[in-house]
Structure formats: structure tokens, C-alpha cells
């Protein structure tokens, strides 16, 4: 394999760095690092991939459920020193593990190959993150992904409207319409026999440049049973309930803030998996119409039937959106 690291001199690299980084942030010396081990690549290092030098910045972080953000050492933000564009470099980090939700334990894998495969399938689509897979010096898949500037659907939801009622009548229909476009994007994946694998409200970002929501981070896969896409649909349902409630409505928050409503809740009103979240939002916000609430209830403990695919969910949401808009 050619030694790509010797392609650029110190002076050339420094001069490129100065184009994109404020003078006070320009390192005195550039260390060009081998790409095979992400633990040895630090802030201000340069890695060369497919002939392009990237100035490495911080590790990316991911937090959930109030747990402080965890650093993802294999995911680093970087600047393409030729174009100045910010990229995310995702080193190959394959791990197989058992995931647990409540009492359920299931096999999961983080697969760089899966993400590389999907990046190919969704190339050019505005509703998915864009990028390519290249080989690092140890011949592993390393993904170079465009950095998306924008807010997650969670941030958009929480910052829209003054209180739930204002949000619901003035912002929700348009947000729901956008989210339906994102469900159609997932339908495209499913039609291509791929799962997203980790559908969460912080994995859907509204691209500031295009205004379109893009799905990110599809390297997870789960071992499905009889329902191949059930876990993806569960993620879509959770996000739908989140945006409809303008945040998670938890039994705890109701117990503290609205005990009268808490007392009226039945077990059937709760999220089928996360039993501390309320799915029956009509009990909390009476102006949520039945035709919409019925869709949410497919994700509740009281559900008798479940959505088997995105088509059914989209059909119901399409009808609900029309009625919300008074058509």
C-alpha cells in the first residue's frame, strides 16, 4: 500500500490549515498519523485518506436519557484541508453486544459495513446523511461523512411554540408533515431490505442548508425475529409520540405537575415498551383529536394491533394530517 502520509510536506499542510483555521488555533507542527488506530489519532493531527488530508478536531459525543455525553473515540470531527468542509470520520469499530429494553434482551451489532452499504444506497438523497466509505491503512472501512449543520427533531420540537396548545395548532401540522417525509425515507430503506437500526429523535437532523430532515447513524443492526422492521417502527412511534406531546410526557411529571390527570391514567395509556411514558396524549391534551390519538395508541400497552410496516403508518398519518389541516 502506498504511503499516503508522505504526500504533503509540513509547509504545505500548515499553509492549508491556515486557510481554514484561525491563526491562534494553527498548531506549530503538524503530526501526520497513520489511519489504522483511532486511539492514536488526536486533536490537531492530520490523517490522509484517498489522497485528501483531514485536520482532526474533537471526538464526537452522544448522550441519552440524561446520562452525560459519552465520547465516541472512533468518530472524529475533521476539516477537509482541500475544500475546508467539515466532515465526520468514522473509524471501523465493530462490536457485537446484547441490548436490553425492559425485560427483553436481543442481539445487536455495530457494523461499519452496514453503514457503508446504506451510504451507497442513499447516495444523493436529501433525507439521509451523505458520505462514502474508504479503506484505512489496515484495510478497514472508514466512513467519511458530511457534517450536517442543524437542529435535531427533538430540538426543533422543544423550541417550537409557546406551550403545547400553541405548538399543536400552529406548528405541529408542518412538523408532522416533515416527519412523514422522514418515515418515507425509512420506507425506502425497508424496501431495499435494510433497517435503520437505531431510530431516535436525536438521529434525525433538520439540515440548515436545505431545510430537509436527514437520518444519521445507521451502523446498528439488531437480530430481528418474526418482524424484520418492528424495532424501526418502534423508534418511529416513539418519535411520533414525542413530537405530538412536544416532548416526553412521563408519569412522573404528571404525578408532580398534573395529579388530576395522573389519577385518570390507566396502564393501557402508557408506551408499550417505555412504561413511564404516556402514549394516550388525549388524556393530557384533550384537543388532540381522536383520529390522531388512535395512531399513537398503536404504540401503547392497550394496543390490540401493531403497525407491521411503514406503509400502514403513513396511510393513517396522511389521513390524520389532512384532517388536521381541515381538508
Amino acid at each position: 500500500m502506498a504511503d499516503e502520509n508522505n504526500t504533503f510536506t509540513q509547509d504545505e499542510l500548515l499553509s492549508m490549515v491556515r486557510q481554514w483555521v484561525p491563526e491562534e488555533r494553527v498548531p506549530r507542527r503538524i503530526r501526520v498519523k497513520d489511519t489504522s488506530d483511532f486511539f492514536r489519532v488526536d486533536y490537531d493531527d492530520v490523517v490522509v485518506l484517498e489522497g485528501i488530508p483531514y485536520l482532526v478536531r474533537n471526538n464526537e459525543r452522544e448522550g441519552r436519557f440524561g446520562i452525560p455525553d459519552a465520547q465516541k473515540f472512533w468518530v472524529k470531527r475533521a476539516i477537509d484541508l482541500i475544500t475546508g468542509k467539515v466532515k465526520i470520520l468514522k473509524w471501523s469499530f465493530r462490536e457485537q453486544f446484547r441490548s436490553r429494553i425492559g425485560d427483553m434482551v436481543f442481539e445487536c451489532v455495530r457494523s461499519p459495513q452496514k453503514e457503508a452499504r446504506i451510504l451507497e444506497i442513499v447516495r444523493g438523497r436529501p433525507d439521509f446523511m451523505q458520505g462514502e466509505s474508504v479503506k484505512d491503512s489496515a484495510d478497514n472501512d472508514l466512513r467519511i461523512v458530511d457534517y450536517i449543520r442543524g437542529k435535531t427533531i427533538e430540538e426543533v420540537t422543544l423550541s417550537s411554540g409557546k406551550g403545547h396548545e400553541d405548538f399543536f395548532f400552529n406548528h405541529y401540522p408542518s412538523l408532522l408533515s416533515d416527519f412523514m417525509a422522514s418515515i418515507r425515507a425509512i420506507r425506502f430503506l425497508h424496501e431495499n431490505a435494510e433497517k435503520h437500526g437505531d431510530i431516535r429523535r436525536d438521529h434525525l437532523i433538520r439540515d440548515k442548508t436545505t431545510g430537509t430532515y436527514r437520518w444519521i447513524d445507521f451502523d446498528y443492526n439488531y437480530r430481528h425475529g418474526a418482524s424484520r422492521f418492528g424495532y424501526d417502527l418502534f423508534g418511529l412511534g416513539n418519535t411520533l409520540i414525542f413530537i405530538t406531546g412536544r416532548g416526553d410526557v412521563t408519569t412522573h411529571s404528571l404525578f408532580i405537575d398534573k395529579p388530576g390527570i395522573f389519577d385518570k391514567l390507566a396502564e393501557e395509556d402508557l408506551n408499550i415498551v417505555f412504561n413511564n411514558r404516556v402514549a394516550n396524549l388525549k388524556k393530557v391534551y384533550p384537543y388532540v383529536p381522536d383520529f390522531l390519538n388512535r395512531i399513537l395508541m398503536h404504540f401503547s400497552i392497550g394496543a390490540q394491533v401493531y403497525y407491521e410496516d411503514t406503509r400502514e403508518l403513513l396511510e393513517d398519518l396522511g389521513e390524520a394530517l389532512e384532517r388536521l389541516r381541515g381538508k
Partner: protein
């Protein structure tokens, strides 16, 4: 009733879909107890080999080895169940075993497609007890069979 040119009655053909679970064993034992020894029935025992997606293996060799081990286990299982049915009174020539590879279709679709090809009048499966949440996330073959079956009966053995 006219049963064809020779007026010979056709056997009722049951398809028992099994895996390595205790529930599948219960389904086989139920059929053995219920109709073993009665004339006019034939049974096909079928299992589906469904490998996890390639992402769950380091490489294709590892996946091929997994599949081979699985095939051997399943074959052994099917032979055992065949023996149970024969001992219950089914004539040997009226108990077939089949193993199908399926990676694309859902398990229930694969079973129903086989049922259709073999013109089985009844599909028999064991019911795995799952919580509502588990059924929601990962589905239930028996529920899918009940909803998806056409022109056949489905026996779900508890």
C-alpha cells in the same frame, strides 16, 4: 364424494413448522396424540434455516460455518420429530421432512409459501409466549400466520 378417477381418497396434508424450541416440540406431540394412527393423514415437518444478516459475522466463512452447524442441528431435530410421529402411528411414507433456506421473506411468509406449494390444508405451529412488548418489537410467527393464511387452517398449539 368424487375423489378423482380412481375414486381414491386424498390424504389430508398437514404442515408442521418447527424450530428448536420447546413450543415446536409441543406442536409435534399434539399432532402425534391427536391424529397419530388415524388413516387419511400425511404430515410434512418443515424447518426454516434463517441465518442472521451478514453484519453479525466477521466474514462469509464464519457465516457459512454457522449455517452448516444450524443445518445439522435442524436435520437432527427433524429426524427426531419424524420418529415421534411414526411411533404415534403415522406410516413412515406419510411423514416427510423438509428444510428450507430463507433470508429475505419473513418466517410466516416462508411457511405460507411452502404451504401453498405443497397444498397443505393445515399449518401447525407451537405458540411462544411473549410479552406484548416483545411481540410488538419482534413479531410473532403464530399471529402472522393467523392473519396471513389463505385457504388453509392454522393450528396454534399452546
Amino acid at each position: 364424494m368424487n375423489n378423482g378417477p380412481n375414486n381414491k381418497p386424498h390424504d389430508k396434508h398437514l404442515l408442521i413448522a418447527v424450530d428448536k424450541s420447546e413450543e415446536a416440540k409441543r406442536a409435534v406431540l399434539y399432532v402425534a396424540d391427536f391424529i397419530g394412527g388415524f388413516p387419511g393423514f400425511r404430515v410434512t415437518l418443515m424447518s426454516i434455516v434463517q441465518a442472521p444478516e451478514a453484519d453479525f459475522f466477521e466474514n462469509e466463512k464464519e457465516r457459512a460455518e454457522w449455517l452448516e452447524r444450524e443445518r445439522q442441528d435442524i436435520r437432527h431435530n427433524l429426524e427426531t420429530y419424524r420418529e415421534i410421529l411414526v411411533q404415534s402411528g403415522f406410516p413412515e411414507e406419510k411423514v416427510d421432512i423438509r428444510m428450507c433456506r430463507n433470508d429475505r421473506k419473513s418466517l410466516s411468509d416462508a411457511i405460507l409459501s411452502f404451504q401453498c406449494d405443497m397444498s397443505c390444508c393445515t399449518v401447525v405451529v407451537g405458540r411462544q409466549h411473549k410479552s406484548k412488548a416483545e411481540e410488538f418489537l419482534f413479531g410473532s410467527v403464530s399471529s402472522q400466520l393467523i392473519h396471513g393464511a389463505k385457504n388453509c387452517a392454522v393450528w396454534v398449539v399452546e
